[in-house]
């Protein structure tokens, strides 16, 4: 898979050469399909991927991630490092040098003031900024000169590249958004739907949740780009229709997130009008095991809290047996095809912090049965379900409503039945499941089930905040309105201790090693989390579109300025 | 028949039955349809009072209000000593066996989903504690009484002809040995050749059981045949109450006169006297004319008729008329 991405990238790079001589707007119209329609172009008001990515046509960050997760400068002229002096030696500040000569699409100059304003905009306590996490720990942002910005942190930051990087933290124009601070942010309809940007395109028309029309930005810094004079970003429908519109009917050039079942992937590709492109990032579909007791018999407020350890899963052998009974290859084949790959790791990428566990990839039903016998779970009454101390091995397995997840549920239930476990399935409307409503019993945070399944990832390439989720003090419970991120209620002092060392480690190598260890503690060693599938990004592009490079670390439209028609 | 010593079985005084009209933006009560407007009469035990009038004159409403199938607006109805409008629901229920009704449309007055036995047995079910067999025996007895074949007890009403259906309705009315029966146009929906069957039956029953009838009809010749006294209604009010023979030979009220003269008689000899043809139509009971309510069509109208409403007054032995012509102010 990786090979293919590389090849694609190379091919694209190769294709870039002739494009350099191209003329801006020479290739006519580009038609993009985001079946989840775009609601706003301001990434700070919605962190929905679709909104962020559509926004990246217009708004740019200081630096972006390329297809390998490496930072590349956009509005900055270079990536600051300790080596080039951009990052202070004590890791408490980072200084960005801005690209000279960058203009906003309205012709005005892009300056350090815009960068500072963006920080103010997102950190206003009343603004409801969706990307607040990107600016966490930032003490101040100052302009050293009109083209130099210094970001100071309130503590040493071994990974100082969170603010102003990636499509989730683009720079807004101060002049346009000056009146949109705080509570006014939401009422700035015009600004949010037609932001002035530095990117290759500018908005001409915006129909909420429907269609956006954009024209090439006349003030874009590269006079030869973009190749398309006009872009339409259409919304509506579903993944299948979106894939079909590119792959079969050829109505669109590119369709985002065409996650469809594998058989149809093959059939659509046979249409010959387009290709599916994929890239793997950090999104892992996993089964989380509840370390606490979700029994409805417990009083409300004590279900799934650390007061009551889980009666069955407290035994590591049992958890391992659950993992061994699963055939992850089948899951991929049934559910994802080219859009996924089996994994045993919580952090599957980038390479420097991904563990190389593969042991779980082979299913071992017999081994699982043996482990359960060892743990004392035996089928004594011959009904096919194991018992221990008069208690049946019966569990509730929940996830959100989603065709693939329901297939997974059915398959996993089959395997677990096979090793003598009774499984009850429950599927919850995603709006409820992921809704975080503290009053609802059905949120994934409340975890009123024995095991549950969903997918999660982390923003950018650095896993530190991700691993922080499994600290003891992040366990959700009634005290914090169930808002903690440690869904499993996993608590291991050793893990907490090891995580602390991450806060001081610098350099990919050193940080990667610690992340791998943390990853293994959660997966391989304790089987608290059973990773299933590394889900890639999976989109469709027309064969007539060239210059496209799939990216799983940033917006898929990250290099839209380089896209052009096949000649 | 008119025995001065006996008290009337039914005594109706100043009976009014108004149906309110609501109109306007707020559905205010803006008027009334005066279906029955101040009607008084009495019926002696064993007597048949005929109540005649044209459609819409309120004669059926009188019958229904007497039995309190409608809640009368005001007035008094005494039947066999009880003040009917004042009775509490349970007392009224207890009273129902003494007063019964025979309806106009024998098709509509029988529940199509019940068998004849069920229909005739319903009053027994409601008011007696007879055993199943006793009840069946009584049902058979009633069927014999009205001339229905017992074998039909399990049939449904649709299997019967109009005349037979009316017999079923009569049997139901008789089930509880009533004293007083309101016959609401019992023959209007029947064919000519059947009408006589039903009327004869009603007369037989009256003779045998000593029943008292209020016989409501628009058929003046039939009323002449069956009634002892006759009340003529016009637009919610009684125009004239007279003994039968007196009325038919010498109607006093101009409306009664016109009504009688309008009836076509099956006698082509041309012996019939000159017809009185009334002009125009009956006014709406929602908006009756001022003064005498017949003044718009009366061939003998006088100025006073348009101003003052005539009262029903006794003008001769047993004859009451509401007309300025007969009893001047």
């Amino acid at each position: 898979m990786k090979m293919k991405t590389l090849l694609l990238g190379a091919a694209a790079a190769f294709a870039l050469a002739p494009a350099a001589h191209a003329e801006r707007g020479a290739d006519g119209e580009l038609k993009i399909l985001y079946y989840q329609a775009v609601s706003t172009l301001n990434a700070y008001l919605s962190s929905g991927t679709k909104d962020v990515e559509a926004g990246s046509l217009v708004l740019e960050p200081l630096a972006a991630f390329d297809q390998d997760g490496k930072l590349v400068p956009r509005l900055a002229s270079e990536i600051p490092t300790v080596e080039n002096g951009g990052v202070a030696a004590d890791l408490t500040s980072i200084t960005w040098k801005l690209n000279p000569g960058v203009k906003w699409s309205d012709g005005s100059d892009f300056t350090a003031e815009d960068v500072i304003f963006t920080w103010q905009y997102c950190t206003d306590p009343n603004g409801g900024c969706a990307q607040g996490a990107k600016y966490e720990g930032v003490k101040s942002v100052e302009a050293v000169d009109p083209l130099t910005v210094k970001v100071t942190f309130d503590a040493p930051k071994p990974y100082p590249y969170q603010p102003f990087t990636g499509a989730t933290a683009p720079i807004l124009q101060k002049a346009q958004f000056a009146n949109c601070l705080g509570t006014a942010a939401a009422t700035c309809t015009e600004q949010n739907s037609k932001p002035i940007g530095t990117g290759p395109y500018m908005v001409t028309d915006f129909k909420v949740n429907d269609v956006i029309t954009l024209d090439a930005n006349p003030n874009y810094r590269d006079p030869a780009k973009p190749a398309f004079a006009k872009v339409t970003v259409k919304g509506g429908g579903d993944a299948l229709a979106a894939a079909s519109a590119v792959m079969e009917t050829g109505e669109f050039d590119y369709a985002w997130n065409t996650q469809i079942n594998p058989e149809q992937q093959a059939q659509m590709e046979a249409g010959g009008k387009g290709t599916f492109v994929n890239a793997f990032g950090t999104l892992v579909e996993r089964i989380e095991i509840n370390m606490t007791d979700p029994s409805p018999a417990l009083p409300e407020g004590e279900r799934s809290t650390i007061k009551h350890p889980h009666p069955i899963f407290s035994d590591a052998k049992v958890r391992q047996a659950l993992s061994m009974a699963i055939d992850r290859n089948v899951l991929v084949e049934v559910g994802y095809g080219k859009a996924g790959r089996p994994t045993c790791n919580l952090v599957p990428a980038p390479a420097y912090q991904a563990s190389d566990n593969t042991a779980c990839l082979t299913q071992d039903i017999e081994g699982a049965k043996k482990l359960l016998e060892e743990a004392g779970w035996v089928d004594t009454d011959g009904d096919g379900i194991r018992e221990k101390d008069g208690k049946k091995f019966s569990i509730l397995y929940q996830t959100s409503v989603n065709a693939v997840r329901q297939d997974f549920q059915a398959l996993v239930k089959g395997w677990w039945n096979e090793i003598g476990i009774e499984v009850e399935l429950k599927s919850i409307d995603p709006g409820v499941y992921f809704g975080g409503d503290a009053a609802s019993p059905d949120t994934f945070q409340k975890f009123y089930a024995d095991v549950e399944m969903y997918a999660n990832n982390f923003d950018g390439t650095d896993a530190e905040p991700y691993m922080a989720q499994y600290l003891c003090d992040k366990i959700p419970g009634p005290e914090n309105q169930w808002q903690g991120e440690n869904i499993n209620r996993f608590c291991d002092p050793a893990y907490d201790a090891l995580f602390k060392t991450l806060a001081t480690a610098t350099g990919d190598e050193a940080r990667g090693t610690i992340v791998k260890q943390l990853n293994d503690m959660l997966t391989k060693d304790t089987n608290t989390i059973l990773p299933l599938v590394d889900r890639g990004r999976f989109s469709a592009k027309a064969n007539t579109l060239d210059g496209f490079i799939m990216n799983s670390w940033d917006s898929e439209l990250w290099n839209v300025a380089d896209w052009h028609r096949v000649k | 028949m008119l025995d001065a010593t006996t008290a009337p079985l039914v005594e109706v005084k100043n009976l009014k039955m108004y149906f309110p009209i609501h109109s306007g933006l707020l559905r205010r009560h803006t008027g009334d349809v005066k279906a029955v407007d101040d009607v008084s009469f009495h019926i002696m035990p064993g007597e048949t009072l005929g109540l005649v009038g044209e459609s819409g004159c309120g004669k059926s409403t009188v019958g229904r209000a007497i039995l309190r199938l409608y809640e009368p607006t005001s007035g008094s109805v005494r039947i066999d000593g009880d003040e009917i409008p004042a009775l509490a629901p349970e007392a009224l229920r207890k009273k129902r066996p003494t007063m019964q009704m025979v309806f106009q449309d024998p098709q509509a007055s029988l529940n199509p989903r019940m068998t004849v036995a069920d229909i005739i047995g319903e009053p027994l079910e409601e008011h007696t504690t007879l055993s199943r067999d006793q009840k069946l025996a009584r049902i058979y007895e009633l069927m014999d009484q009205v001339g229905l074949n017992r074998a039909f007890a399990n049939r449904y009403p649709y299997a019967f002809s109009g005349g037979q259906r009316q017999r079923i309705g009569i049997a139901r009315a008789l089930a509880l040995n009533p004293k007083f029966i309101v016959c609401d146009e019992p023959i209007a929906a029947l064919d000519v050749s059947i009408q006589a069957q039903v009327v004869n039956l009603l007369e037989d029953l009256q003779d045998r059981l000593g029943l008292t009838y209020l016989f409501i009809s628009h058929d003046l010749s039939m009323v002449r045949h069956i009634a002892d006294r006759v009340a003529v209604m016009y637009l919610g009010q009684i125009a004239e109450i007279s003994p039968r023979d007196a009325l038919y030979t010498n109607p006093l009220h101009p409306y009664a006169e016109a009504l009688l003269s309008a009836v076509p008689e099956a006698d082509p000899s041309g012996a019939q006297k000159q017809r009185i043809i009334l002009k125009g139509d009956v006014p709406s009971p929602a908006n009756p004319p001022k003064g005498c309510n017949f003044c718009t069509r009366c061939p003998k109208v006088m100025p006073v008729c348009r101003e003052v409403e005539p009262k029903l007054t006794e003008v001769a032995q047993g004859r009451q008329v509401a007309c300025h012509l007969i009893s001047p102010l």
Partner: protein, 308 residues
């Protein structure tokens, strides 16, 4: 009274015989009745013959992969789905659920509708209130209402009755509670007319109390329109259930209904059109049959038509 008629004592002829006689002449309805009978046999008796568990998944990975997305064969006359489950047995099972849901939901709707209709029609005092309520229900957007009901009561229902039965009852109630209004209006109109019929007046003159008048005289006589409404109610309940399932708000995935199967099938429509066609045809055919039967019943129960 002629002598000939008294001689033979006829057995009481039930009115339903007449209805049936009339119904038999409605060709469409008869064909539909037979088809529906076949469908019912297929759904209710079929599983006794075709005993494959609709949720059976081969646990051996290799076998399972081989079993997936099979075309028609003797082992699986309608093929298998993406998890290797037998489609024929799933359609049977789904049909059972769909028909059960529809029937029970219809009963709920008819019960509520008839009650409201009779009360409103018979008691003038509550008429305005009940009809306002009906109008309000008619003006409510039902999709969100269904959603909310599913959400609010799902847990309670599931904890008391178990997840399958709980969801079943909930869906049935939800559909019932949101589809009684037309029945109520029809019944009310009918009761208003019946109330003025002389046999009701006759019952009152006998002194029959209101409750018994309703039970003995009103209800049996509103049976015809109610029956027709009930038949058509089944049709609309099947559709509602399938729309709910189609929007993902219906039964859990291991509890297939026709709507759910269709919903799942739409995903695979391009590759395996038959996955959409079978449940789609099942739904359409059933609803079509039920509608035809409703038509036939309406004609058969209409006294005006019957008289002809």
């Amino acid at each position: 009274m002629t002598d000939t008629t008294t001689a033979k004592i006829e057995r009481p002829r039930s009115q339903w015989r007449d209805v049936w006689d009339q119904f038999r002449h409605h060709k469409g309805a008869m064909v539909a009745l037979m088809l529906l009978g076949l469908i019912a046999c297929f759904v209710f008796i079929g599983p006794l013959i075709w005993q494959i568990d609709p949720n059976f998944i081969e646990s051996d990975a290799v076998k399972m992969i081989r079993m997936r997305n099979q075309g028609p064969s003797w082992a699986h006359p309608l093929g298998t789905d993406q998890l290797g489950r037998d489609i024929l047995s799933r359609i049977m099972f789904g049909g059972k659920i769909s028909l059960a849901v529809a029937t029970v939901a219809m009963l709920v709707a008819i019960f509520i509708g008839t009650t409201v209709g009779v009360l409103a029609g018979y008691f003038r005092r509550v008429d305005g209130l009940l009809m306002r309520l009906t109008d309000m229900f008619l003006a409510l957007p039902l999709l969100p209402l269904l959603l909310v009901m599913m959400f609010l009561f799902r847990d309670a229902a599931a904890s008391v009755l178990g997840p399958s039965l709980g969801t079943f009852l909930l869906i049935v109630l939800a559909i019932g509670v949101t589809s009684w209004m037309h029945a109520a209006r029809i019944v009310r109109g009918e009761v208003l007319a019946l109330k003025e019929r002389e046999f009701v007046l006759a019952a009152r003159s006998i002194g029959t109390p209101s409750l018994r008048i309703i039970l003995r005289h009103i209800l049996p006589n509103v049976l015809s329109p109610v029956l027709v409404a009930a038949t058509l109610g089944i049709a609309s309940a099947i559709i509602t259930e399938s729309v709910l399932s189609f929007l993902g708000l219906g039964f859990p995935p291991d509890f297939p209904t026709w709507g759910r199967l269709l919903f799942d099938g739409v995903d695979a429509m391009r590759t395996y059109p038959d996955r959409v066609v079978w449940p789609g045809v099942a739904i359409s055919l059933t609803v079509l049959c039920v509608n035809y039967i409703g038509d036939g019943l309406r004609d058969a129960l209409d006294p005006r038509v019957r008289g002809r």
